[in-house]
Structures are given as structure tokens and as C-alpha cells.
Amino acid sequence: MLLSIRDLSKSFPGTRALDGVDFDLRAGEVHALLGENGAGKSTLIKCLTGAYRRDAGEIRLDGEKISPSSTSEAQELGIGTVYQEVNLLPNLTVAQNLTFGREPRRFGMVDGKAQRELAREMLDGYGLDIDVGRDLGAYSVAVRQIVAIARAVALSGKVLILDEPTASLDAAEVRMLFDVIRDLRDRGLGIIFVSHFLDQVFALCDRLTVLRNGRKITTETTADLDRVKLIEHMLGHELDRASEEAATTDSVADDRPELLRFEGIGRAGVVEPFDLTIRKGEVIGLAGLLGSGRTETAELMFGVRTPQTGKTRDADGPVSHATPREAIAAGFGFAPEDRKTHGIIADLSVRENIILAMQAHRGWTRPIPRAEQDAIAEDYIAKLDIRTSDADKPVGDLSGGNQQKVVLARWLAMNPRYLILDEPTRGIDVGAHAEILRLIQEITEEGMSILVISSELDELIAVVDRVIVLRDRKHMRELTGEEVATDAIVRAIASSDHAPDAARDHAR
């Protein structure tokens, strides 16, 4: 065994990013690391490359215990990494990039000729015919990837970690990259391949390991695994009490009045045009893998990105939602996926975060009186059970689950008719998780309609009436009633190669 990880754990305030994870890598294999956002892939890699210090567990490389404390130490030990956004310098030449930090010298100065010679040697065997004297930035992303790989292999030479290397490559470039990867594998390197493109994983990898919520779910040989099984592993398939309860509430859905009708909403390169009708008090789920267009659908509906096609109507006529301000005026709300960068304003108080959207909607000429602000904040702190010592504490001091509740409170205070929740339970602990699901059910009883996006299928089917399945930036299928169950959703997500015709019908 080239690399073996045992019982690796890493916590951040409010979340347990890795929880007792085991992982093995053989020399001469390509091993895929799979999981949705927040599953723990990048934390695992950062522990390996020394960017994070692990809390517990051990890592052995060639049987030796290692504990890298920086990326350069990991490199010297033999673990090299290539990221999606290539971490080389496009303003230097290919040769300078390849030999960076160990330039051949002559009389104390960099020997340009020897440098280019060395660079050409390093690129030997990668099937690249490029001028190492030109700026790296002059070449395509695929070439830069391969240069980065060549550098990492030359520096480290045992383990190569590729983090989403194909995200910005076209099909021909992917093939070129895969040839390079297979060649390295045959030379005896252990390669960890992180990607969310399942086709590529099946095409390239010998084994795969699935992470979910910081735990290792399984390690399988790729050849023995079918796609449905894999998606089940990634999205979870533990039926529990909550989802059984939910199954009984489905039948009442259809007689509710129609609230909104999205027709042909789409934007090139973001999401293909889709139709969606939303009824009053209904909870709709969006399911699909990472990159399938879930978040993008929400962004089009809320005007974060302006739709290029289609129109939206309610009972009174057309509804405009080309910008967030228009969407809010139309009675929409949106709690985004990335709480830290898009949700909270960490330096402002809990109270100010809660009234933010409400005040923005009223306009600055009609300020909410301080007493009313306090009342609203206290009301939601009590209602959502936000754990904070007082409403004037900066929201950045709260735990992840409580921050999420503050973002929820911001939108509930607006009393929107249509609320979009993108991964409402991401990165929060189990207790707060269940509370947020309970809240979703409560607020729809008051007539609000909700769209929930989630990678956790169990969570999704526990709260929703209908599920829209997305794949490759397209709305593929709508599942209602009895069909709202994990295996049906998993099959719908996985069906790309098996039933393309049926899928196309549903997309219309």
C-alpha cells in the first residue's frame, strides 16, 4: 500500500468536516474521491497536503508515518497536487514554471539554456510539443494542467492529487489529459482523482471512495459498481422515520391554487429553458448532482443571473424577476447555498442581519423604528430558537446552524410568498438540521411556497411534495406522489445513458 489513511478526523467550529475517515491508495492505481459539496473531499486533501493539521488519525506513506505541516513538506515527502485553477504563474515561461525554485545556475545567475534543457527533459513523455521558452499563459488550460502535472511529478513522484482537473476542459483535452494520467499510473504513481463527472470517473478510475458528511461511505472497485448504486452512495439512502411520515402528506398537494408559473426560463450556458408551476403552500425539491444546474435554477428565479428567455406569471399577470430587487418586490426570497460569502454579514449584529432585506424593501426613507427592529429580532430569535446571548451580537460569533437560522429569519420576516432555500442544512450540526426541516414544514402550513435544493435525498423527500430532477443543466423529470422516494430519484439522476429519449421528453 502506497498511502494509507486511518481514522482521520478534522473539525472546524460548528462542523465536523472529517469523521474517522479511512482511505487507501495503491501504487499504480487511479483512485477517485467522490462526494457532494461539503462531503469532506477538500478537507481530506488539505490534510494530506499539509494545508490543514488533522485533529486525529494517522497517515502512512510507504509504511512510514507522516505528518506534513506545509505543502512544501508534503511535496518533499512525495505528495504533489494539481488544482483546478492551475497554481502556476502564467506570466513566466513554461521553463521558468517547471524549474521554479531549483533553477540551474551558472556563475550565480540563472542559466537559461540549461533551464530550458531541464524543462524539456521534464516534459518528456507527456506528448506535449511546446516551446518551453514561451509564456505559460500563451497555452491552453489543458496544456497548463499537464505542465503542472509534470512539475508535481518531478518534484514529488509518489502520490499525485488531481483536484477537479477536467472542470474547464473540452472533450478532446480531457482525452489528452487522461492519456497522461494513465501513463503516469503505468509508471507506478498513485493518483487521487477528485471530480464530480461520473462518466470520467468510470472511464478512468480503478477504484473509488465516496465521502458524505465527513464520513467514508464506501470504497469500491469501479468496474463492479453500477451508476445507480454510486449515486445512492453519494446522495444517501437511509430511509428513516421522517421520510415515511412525509409520504402520507403527498396526496393533498394537487387541489391547492396555483401561485406562480415559470415558462421557458433559461439562460445559455447556465440552465436550459424550463417550465415550473408552483402551488400555494407547496414544497418543491430540486435534486441532481453537483453541477447539474440546481443552484443556477434558483439564481435565475431570483434574478441573481438575469434569464435570457421565458416569462413568469402569477394570478394577476406577468411577474418580473430580472434582479434580486425585482424578485423581492415580487414576493420572492432566497437563502443562498454559501452562507458565509452570500448570506450573512459577519460584522453586523443578529438584529441588523435579520432586518436587512425588510429594510431594503421599505427603502431608506421609511426606516424601521428601533423598537420595532428589536421586536422583530426578538420574535425570530425565539421562534427559530437562535442561540445568541443577545440580538446585538455580531452574527459572525454564532455557530453555523444559528447563522443559517438568521438568514432564514431575514426572509421569513419579509413574509415572502415564494422562498428558495439552497442547501439549507449544509454544514450545520444534526440538531439544528432537524429543526430547520421542521421549520420548513411549519411555514408552508401558513401558505408560503418553498423550493428546496439539497444534496441529501433523505432530507429532500422528508419535506417535499414534488421533486424536479436535474442533470447537465437541464430539468429532466418531475416526480410526484409515490415517486418521491430515494430510489426513484437516484434512478432518474442516473438514467443518462440508459434512457435518453425518455429524459428528453420530460425536459420539454
Binding site: G343, I344, I345, E352, A360, W364, D390, D429
Partner: protein
């Protein structure tokens, strides 16, 4: 479901202890800057043998720093919004020149000219803010360009000459003092009364706030800290106004400055518009998703900065009683330094008006004190630079520990 626990309850005591520790440290910064000012003043008071706090010098100190303070208020908003404005020094010079040309050469009534100058300042701010807000051109670049442009326009407008003097009426902006209706011998009673009223008012407000806090929950600030802070502010203001009343009373500029500080403090801490500037500076994306028109707000922040720079330009021109092509050179650096010494964050979203004003006075007292001591301009620059660096290092370390 009732037995569900959140991580914050698991570690209640630990979390609370950490939170209050962090609170204390946050406030350490606020107390810190006030104490720094007091310590610096005390040091120079002793080192200069009591010259620093002589009524005439104190009055001078206020007059010398008024334009920096006025611009620091506007700069605080710009920096909280996550931007920077390098053009303020040049705009100050340009508006001074414009005022001189209008009043002296064209003989426009000084009041009308002053209003036109303020409007021109606001327009300049808008012209720069337009590109920054709506086209996302980095503010550093836009205002660097503005700095060069208005430096050039000042030269052009004055044709390389100094223009002056201004009519007496206009000079009063900077050299006038509050008239005293009481006519008491040796003291400007109205100024003293105003000073005492303001000191009492501030103390009263602080006590009322604390009472309100006590009603809704326990105040975070320990009683001793609160009492000491309130007392120091009360005594400080009362003593300063006593000193100044003993000379010629409160300068007109001081009144303008105090009003601006009060108004902008209120706007930034209580009013919607002000809080929104903190929101866009803290997390622009989240603010926009909440429906805040971040672009317009950025635009207005720069318009406001331009207007305040224009006001500072009028004050400066009136003080020198002439407009010179060199006026305002390098002022932007003092203003920006004052705001950062006052605890604002380069990343935006953090900072207070009062902090920026105290920062400006720290710089001012050091300038004044070192000049009295006869320290050369060379060492003065070095010392001021190191103080700025130390203040920001202190901030960053403080933040990292929390």
C-alpha cells in the same frame, strides 16, 4: 424534538466565556484609541511644559486639524464601503482655488460661491463614484486619476499664482469665534455653557442607553468601565470648553465640525443609509441578494466624500486667506491614516466616525506637540508612519486572536 441540542448549548459556559472575552477585546480597541489619545496628550503636555493645553494652542490645534477631521468623516464612509479615495487632497485644493477665483476675481457673493463650491465638490465625487459604482473600475485607480486631474485643474484655474485675499466675511469660517451675548470679563460664557451642555448631554445619552440595555438584558460592559469612560468623556469635554472659553470661545469651525461628527455618528450607527454602507462593505454579495442597491449607495458615498472635501477646501482656503496651487498636497494620506488609526478595516465593513475623528486628533496632537518640541519634519514623518503601522498591526493581531 425538544431535546435537540445545538452546539452552542453544548459548550454554553465555554462559548459565553469566549464571547465575553472577545467582546472585551473588541472594546479594548475602542478604549485603546481613546486612551492612546489621552496618553499622547498627557505626554506632550508634560514634555512641552504645559504649552500643549494652553487655550491659544488648543484653539490652534482644532483649527489646524479641522479640515482633516471633516474629510476623515467622509473617508470613513468610503473605507467602510470597501473603497478608498486618493483624490481628496487635490479636490480640497481645487475647490479652494474655485472659491478664490469666484469670490476674488469674479466677485460672486461669498455665500453663493460657497454653495456653488459644495455643489461642485459633490459633482466631482459623483463623477468618480459613477465609474467606481456602475463600471466597477477600482476606486484606487479612479481616484488616483482624480488626484492628478484636479491637481492639474487647480494649477490651470489659478494660472500658477496664489489668489487672495478673501473678504473678511468669508475668512470668518475659519478665523471666527462664537459671539458671546453675555459679555462676561475674561471668558466666553456661551461657549462654556455649550461645552457643558454637550458634555452633560453625551453623559446623559450614555446613561440612558445603558438603562435601556439593562431593561432588555444584562449590559456587556462592566459597570466600572462604563463609569470611567463616561466620566473621562464628560470631564474631557468640559475641560476643553473651559480652556477654549478662556481664550476667545469656540471657533466657528469647531461648531461645524462638532455638528458633522454628531450628524454622521448618528447616520452611521442609527440610520438605515449608514448601516447599509456597513452591509455592502461587510459582504456586498449578501447585501445585494437582500435587495440593497449597492451601486447607488457606493455612488452616493463618493458624492458625499466630494462634498465634504469641498467643505474642507473652503475651510482651508479661508484659514490661509488665499488659494495656492500647492494647497491640499498630501492631505489624502493624513486623512486615510487617521481613518485607519481610528480602527477602520482595509477590507471594509468596520470602523466608526468617532474613531476616525480621534485618529485625526492623534495625528494632529502629534504634529502639534512635536513641532512645539522642535522635532524636525524629518523625524515627525518617521514617527507618524510608525504610529500608523503600529495601530494597524495592533488591529490585525487583535482580530486574529479573536
Amino acid at each position: 424534538m425538544s431535546d435537540i441540542t445545538d452546539s452552542s448549548t453544548d459548550g454554553t459556559t465555554g462559548e459565553q466565556a469566549r464571547a465575553s472575552w472577545r467582546f472585551l477585546k473588541n472594546h479594548l480597541r475602542e478604549y485603546g484609541i481613546l486612551f492612546a489619545l489621552i496618553a499622547i496628550m498627557a505626554f506632550f503636555q508634560v514634555a512641552t511644559g504645559g504649552i500643549l493645553l494652553r487655550p491659544v494652542n488648543l484653539t490652534n490645534l482644532v483649527l489646524q486639524n479641522s479640515y482633516i477631521v471633516i474629510m476623515a468623516i467622509g473617508m470613513l464612509l468610503v473605507i467602510v464601503a470597501g473603497h478608498i479615495d486618493l483624490s481628496v487632497g487635490s479636490v480640497l485644493g481645487f475647490i479652494g482655488a474655485l472659491a478664490a477665483v469666484m469670490i476674488v476675481n469674479w466677485e460672486i457673493p461669498y455665500l453663493l460661491a460657497a454653495i456653488l463650491c459644495l455643489a461642485a465638490g459633490a459633482l466631482i465625487g459623483m463623477a468618480q463614484g459613477f465609474w467606481i459604482a456602475y463600471f466597477r473600475i477600482p476606486s484606487f485607480i479612479v481616484t488616483l486619476a482624480g488626484m492628478l486631474v484636479f491637481k492639474g485643474l487647480t494649477l490651470w484655474l489659478l494660472a500658477g499664482q496664489s489668489v487672495g485675499p478673501f473678504p473678511r466675511q468669508f475668512q470668518l469660517i475659519s478665523s471666527g469665534f462664537l459671539a458671546d451675548p453675555f459679555n462676561v470679563e475674561g471668558i466666553n460664557l456661551l461657549s462654556l455653557l455649550i461645552g457643558l451642555a454637550v458634555a452633560a448631554g453625551l453623559a446623559g445619552l450614555a446613561i440612558r442607553n445603558r438603562a435601556a440595555q439593562a431593561r432588555t438584558g444584562t449590559p456587556d460592559e462592566p459597570m466600572a468601565f462604563f463609569a470611567a469612560k463616561t466620566l473621562i468623556i464628560f470631564v474631557g469635554i468640559a475641560y476643553m470648553s473651559w480652556l477654549m472659553a478662556g481664550f476667545r470661545g469656540l471657533p466657528n469651525v469647531f461648531i461645524v465640525m462638532a455638528l458633522l461628527i454628531a450628524v454622521y455618528s448618528f447616520v452611521t450607527s442609527r440610520m438605515t443609509v449608514g448601516r447599509r454602507i456597513y452591509a455592502i462593505g461587510g459582504n456586498e454579495k449578501a447585501a445585494m441578494l437582500s435587495g440593497i442597491n449597492a451601486k447607488r449607495l457606493t455612488f452616493l458615498t463618493f458624492a458625499n466624500m466630494g462634498m465634504l472635501a469641498a467643505l474642507a477646501g473652503l475651510v482651508f482656503a479661508a484659514r490661509l486667506n488665499t488659494a495656492t496651487p500647492k494647497a491640499g498636497a498630501g492631505f489624502e494620506l493624513d486623512v486615510i491614516a487617521a481613518v485607519f488609526i481610528g480602527g477602520a478595516s482595509m477590507a471594509g465593513g468596520v470602523g466608526t466616525v468617532v474613531g476616525a475623528v480621534i485618529g485625526a486628533f492623534i495625528m494632529g496632537v502629534m504634529n502639534n506637540g512635536m513641532s512645539i518640541l522642535g522635532i524636525g519634519i524629518d523625524y515627525q514623518q518617521v514617527i507618524k508612519g510608525l504610529v500608523l503601522l503600529a495601530a494597524v498591526i495592533f488591529d490585525v493581531m487583535n482580530k486574529n486572536k479573536g
